[in-house]
Amino acid sequence: MFDWLADTHILSIVAYIPLVGAIFIIAFVRGSDAVRVRNIATGVAFVDFLVSLPLWFSFDPDGELFQFRESHEWISAIGVRYEFGIDGISLLMVLLTTLLGVLAILSSWTAVKERQKEYYVFLLLLQTGMLGVFMAMDFFLFYVFWEVMLVPMYFLIGIWGGPRKLYAAIKFFLYTLAGSVVMLLGILALFFFNQDGLLGHQGMGNEASFSILQFHEIGAQIPAGLQFWIFLAFFVSFAIKVPMFPFHTWLPDAHVEAPTAGSVILAGVLLKMGTYGFVRFSLPILPDATWQLLPWMAGLSIVGIVYGGLVAMAQKDMKKLVAYSSVSHLGFVMLGLFALNGPGVNGSILQMINHGLSTGALFLLVGIIYERRHTRMISEYGGISKKMPVFATYFLIITMASIGLPTLNGFVGEFTILVGVFNRSWVWATFGALGIVLGAAYMLWMYQRVFFGPMDNPDNESLEDMNRREVLYILPLVILCFWIGLYPKPFFRILEKPVDYVVARVNGDSVAATAALPGSVAPTAPPVALAEVEE
């Protein structure tokens, strides 16, 4: 099905539909006509989602590692190419992004009342930036999208955010920018090593290139000393994004101040870029350094899990609680990643999706109740399950998904991660399990305080349950939570090859990694496929 897609520019189309929509809104819609702006933005995001759906059906899990590739000359002087392509990991991230994009816009219909034209324009621009990050196969191109995306996010927090929005927005921007520029130096070091070498290290003598696959290829030959520094450069950038302890301090501020849609995208997609960066770059390109720094990485992940969980437990503000729970959950994802084996990486990537779904949904739900009462303090609520039964049900399902109840998605991810982590070290696995217990504690405790008990706050008497639009835009997330919980096979199937590839690379098994590259599994594929990648 949809095989003809491979020859179109489908990825570019998916990536730029939001950009075109944003330009259209800027040029042709008057800002005073808020309803029109809103409808067009919703339509654009929805169309983008629909256009991205065929990717799922026509992606061939047995085919080449990277599919739907596009490649054009861009800056030939330094070998930069405009190159898009997705493997299974990117595919899931792209679909998550287009889906959450629609939901984020739907959730803003009534929540955002000021400067709506600019708001939707920034949301759409953000969408393009994020999609580009997951599709780019050229490191330079990746970096461009990686930074471009910060600008609309800055404005979403800084204009439509809460009382401390100015502080939160600039803190978010400064933190992530400081990380990115250091990564830039790492990219440059790789670039020069691929050519003539640098800092006294003999280079590979290849043509100037920023191709990510090319870097994968030479990665194992980079001397350990150089790998160490490049790893640190990447680490700063990705760890801030994830965020790993102790680089997490921007996150609670940004989350609490951001409008609902901003939080959803921040938690659902932006944080995943950090973990995606580790999977895509740090692990396969810098295997020696990864092993060398493994104890540190695992240690920081564990501290993140426990610390995030404990701080979440102490929060009085629901949004802040969910924000700190993200620190904990992402620590879990990182721990799975650094198990450096099949189940660990598999589970960790699936958990990235799961976290996007369940935390995205949690922020949407908190947004719904905030819109009604304009407070997120847990103490303001109590016993509202009687007033809002549908809301309470939704919230319960998502809470269960988040804490990893079997039949829901969180369980599958966490279990797979634990299997992988246990293979690496039972001590790590113990801490991981502790994180799950903590997660259950703070989530259930919040649920209890908000939904059960006596309703002693008269302001809650007039609460209305969710309306049809709200029910509709959370429903897809709930369905997905059940789908992954009950039948995760298609997801694991898609992840199989890319995960094998990453694990083989990081374990220095370049033969196996090469085998995972295009074509060599399918017996009919010509053996020249590898050469094509290297060109």
Partner: protein
């Protein structure tokens, strides 16, 4: 030493033409009945610059390889061609930015615009200067014109102060430079760059005279590009000078000064590269650090931009000291991008100025996004470009500069550079915060009503994006300027 021939003067055609046009403009302005109109004079100046640009291009294409003229005083090569085009572009944009200022102040347009043309002539000579005397004289031609322009608000105390400061400190630095040149001549027996280079190469170790000479010369040049610790004049002069002149100083004058800095270091002092690399590295680092840190607390936009322009000189120095091919064309590319970005930024400042100095504090930008969204969006792009965020020319330029530093092994300089450019986000975004996130009682939009000014801003905006999205042709252009590396 090659002799002089009458044909040499033909090769100086573009410079002679521009100087002549400047004189004609001055006479026209003085002799015409009630003084020629502002618009007519600025159009004349603009067209003169465009014609000169075309002449320079045609001349460059007709020449085969580097050509020395007037007893090796000047050289016409790819380097001089590229930098001439850059300074002419910068001056042409300054002309577009100046219309309103001349109009509001009631100044004699013939006088003002002819000064710009003289400065441009000086800068063209700087780009092709090949011996110390010709370099110094062309530098002074530019500097003297700038001193006058800096004080053009005749009745404003701040402007007088700026001009005087600029003049005194500028003269001092020119003196230091000239002294250095004389010592260098004493030590090497030559005023011609190649002669100096070969004399230094022949000596086993440079004599004390030569060392003092080149250090003083480099100090003078660093003063002209406003690098720390020779930057103290810049903030006061930038604030006091009329804004179009500030833009001129920040872009045209700085670009031309970099041209002679690179020319002297690469072709006159290649034998001493190890020494001047260290000095430039130290200067580049303190310039980037201090320029950015000092800008953090500024509330006056022109002062903020002054410190930012100091910081940018630091980034460019990183490319100069890398001493590799990427570094050399990165310097050109960066100055080109920086020129458009800065011109656009000052253009926006001018547009917001009511009378003389109003419109200069960050508060004046409050709510600009709701008053005139298009102008605010352009200013946002300029601020992003100055920070070095894609997809703008500022990003691509910085990328190459730091790539050059990494390749040359100056990793620590690159690390400081990128971190400082992250810091710079904070102060550039002060303006953005006011534009987008602060409310204002003012509701009148700022119409892009003057066609010249609006055109210049829009042109800079478009080029800033083009330089970021499609850099290939501009890289080819920058590569024309490659000099033989020492």
């Amino acid at each position: 030493m090659a002799g002089m021939s009458p044909q040499d003067f033909l090769l100086l055609g573009p410079e002679i033409l521009l100087a002549a046009l400047g004189l004609i403009l001055l006479l026209w302005g003085a002799l015409a009945d009630k003084g020629a109109g502002n618009r007519a004079c600025s159009t004349f100046a603009f067209l003169s610059l465009v014609v000169t640009m075309i002449y320079v291009t045609v001349q460059h294409m007709s020449l085969e390889g580097p050509t020395r003229i007037l007893a090796d005083s000047f050289i016409l090569d790819g380097f001089s061609f590229v930098w001439k085009i850059m300074v002419l572009l910068a001056v042409a944009l300054t002309v577009l930015l100046s219309q309103r200022f001349v109009e509001d102040g009631g100044y004699r347009p013939g006088e003002y615009y002819s000064l710009l043309l003289y400065a441009a002539t000086g800068m063209m000579f700087m780009a092709s200067g090949f011996n110390l005397i010709s370099i110094w004289i062309s530098l002074e031609l530019m500097a003297l014109s700038s001193y006058i322009m800096a004080g053009y608000f005749k009745r404003e105390l701040k402007s007088n102060e700026a001009a005087l400061k600029y003049f005194v400190l500028g003269a001092l630095s020119s003196g230091v430079m000239l002294y250095g040149m004389s010592l260098l001549y004493g030590g090497t027996g030559s005023i011609q760059l190649e002669g100096i280079a070969s004399a230094i190469a022949a000596a086993e170790s440079p004599s004390l005279l030569v060392v003092m000479g080149w250090v003083l010369l480099v100090v003078g040049l660093l003063f002209k590009v406003a690098a720390v610790p020779f930057h103290v004049w810049a903030p006061d002069v930038y604030v006091g000078a009329p804004t179009p002149v500030t833009a001129f100083l920040a872009v045209a004058s700085k670009t031309a000064s970099f041209a002679i800095l690179v020319r002297i270091l690469y072709q006159g002092l290649p034998g001493l590269r190890v020494d001047w690399q260290i000095i430039l590295a130290a200067v580049a680092v303190v310039t980037m650090v201090w320029g950015n840190l000092a800008a953090l607390t500024q509330d006056n936009v022109k002062r903020l931009l002054a410190y930012s322009s100091i910081a940018h000189a630091g980034y460019v120095l990183v490319g100069v000291l890398a001493l590799n091919e990427i570094g050399l064309w990165a310097v050109v590319y960066y100055l080109l991008a920086y020129g458009f970005i800065t011109m656009g930024t000052f253009g926006t400042v001018i547009l917001l100025e009511r009378k003389s100095y109003a419109g200069e504090t960050c508060e004046d930008y409050a709510g600009l996004a709701s008053r005139s969204p298009f102008l605010a969006a352009m200013m946002l792009v300029f601020m992003l470009a100055l920070t070095g965020i894609p997809p703008t020319g500022g990003f691509v330029g910085k990328f190459y500069l730091f790539a050059a530093a990494i390749q040359a092994g100056w990793t620590w300089v690159a690390v400081i550079g990128v971190l400082m450019s992250a810091v710079s986000l904070y102060y550039y975004f002060r303006i953005v915060v006011f534009m987008y996130q602060k409310e204002t009682t003012e509701t009148t939009p700022e119409p892009l009503r003057e066609p010249a000014l609006a055109g210049a801003i829009i042109l800079c905006f478009v080029l800033t994006l083009v330089l970021g999205l499609y850099p290939a042709p501009f890289i080819e252009f920058a590569k024309t300027a490659l000099l033989p590396l020492p």
